[in-house]
Symmetry: C2
Subunit: 177 residues, 2 copies
Amino acid sequence: MLKLAILGFLHDRPLHGYELRRHLAALTGHVRPISDGTLYPAIKRLEAEGLLVRATEPGAAAAPRHTLRLTDAGRAALLDRLRSPDELDVSNENRWFTLLAFLRHLDGEPAAQAAVLRRRLAFLNEPASFFYDGDRPVGAEEVADPFRRGMLLIARATTTAELDWLHATLAELDAAA
Amino acid sequence: MLKLAILGFLHDRPLHGYELRRHLAALTGHVRPISDGTLYPAIKRLEAEGLLVRATEPGAAAAPRHTLRLTDAGRAALLDRLRSPDELDVSNENRWFTLLAFLRHLDGEPAAQAAVLRRRLAFLNEPASFFYDGDRPVGAEEVADPFRRGMLLIARATTTAELDWLHATLAELDAAA
DNA sequence: AGACCATACCTCGATGCCGAGGTATAACAA
DNA sequence: TTGTTATACCTCGGCATCGAGGTATGGTCT
């Protein structure tokens, strides 16, 4: 997820680590702020994989910066990941949102974008709950516990909103394709 | 989060590992199914901490089971964690939902439950977005990218639903206290 | 009888993440 | 001048997690 986000932000324009950190904090910070000890090793891994290059530049405000720039391989890796997300990217809320944040980078390919959205649609249409009575998912109305009822109500509202948006956006994408 | 969930499920009744696994799969499985290699070491850690005890029983259907039972220390640790969740438990969606799933275990203490909900309320009332124009959060209406607009619309729907539920539930809890 | 599956538990290496710490520069305030 | 803050990067130990593998039992199907 971190890898995807780094590649996604750098696709827009080169950034140095500190800027990247702020972008990441906005995108995923409300969930869990990424720490320096996570970010910088991740950058190094991406560099070792040849997906980005670092160029040292005199620091504008302070210490020298390492400006990060995607390579062609990096750009290709990003687009690949966007075209063919793995199951967890589709099912996990945080990963899915990260993917959504950069799906526009597939801009020449409305059919590919639509295919990704359709995978999410399929996932959301699978019956799922937090609690089961045997194999049967338990709905909000049956739950006496107000806290668990809240979970189900909130999850339902989220799913409804997402389905609305998915259907509307798919219609647009299909019209464009 | 895993620790909280294990303690939470065992507070209801003793379970063996395999049952626990199925409960956890329902609760967090849509996000990320926990693997055996995560669950069993986690159980052992909790046992080492003295929060649960294991009793070997002949297996009903197959191999012998290790029935897991909370100790008094385990029960106390769970209630403590529920009363005083750390910041991440409040801000991170997954952790918050895990906490909600077991908040009813604080049943004699409506004031404590309300205090926890109020912390979430405070968190949700902080202005936050995925994207910023300088320091100003960018709203859904300003975003041209349909995918990022979707993120913001879905997040807003979720927040609205959660706020409605929070206010209603707080009113009930305050009446009970 | 043999094959197969669901139940039930466990280990181990690899990996990624966290937090705490460190280094350094430049601007500004006390 | 000294301290503080913001910028900017890095390392390292420790730990939780994952995935792939293994062991074993009992029931069902053929």
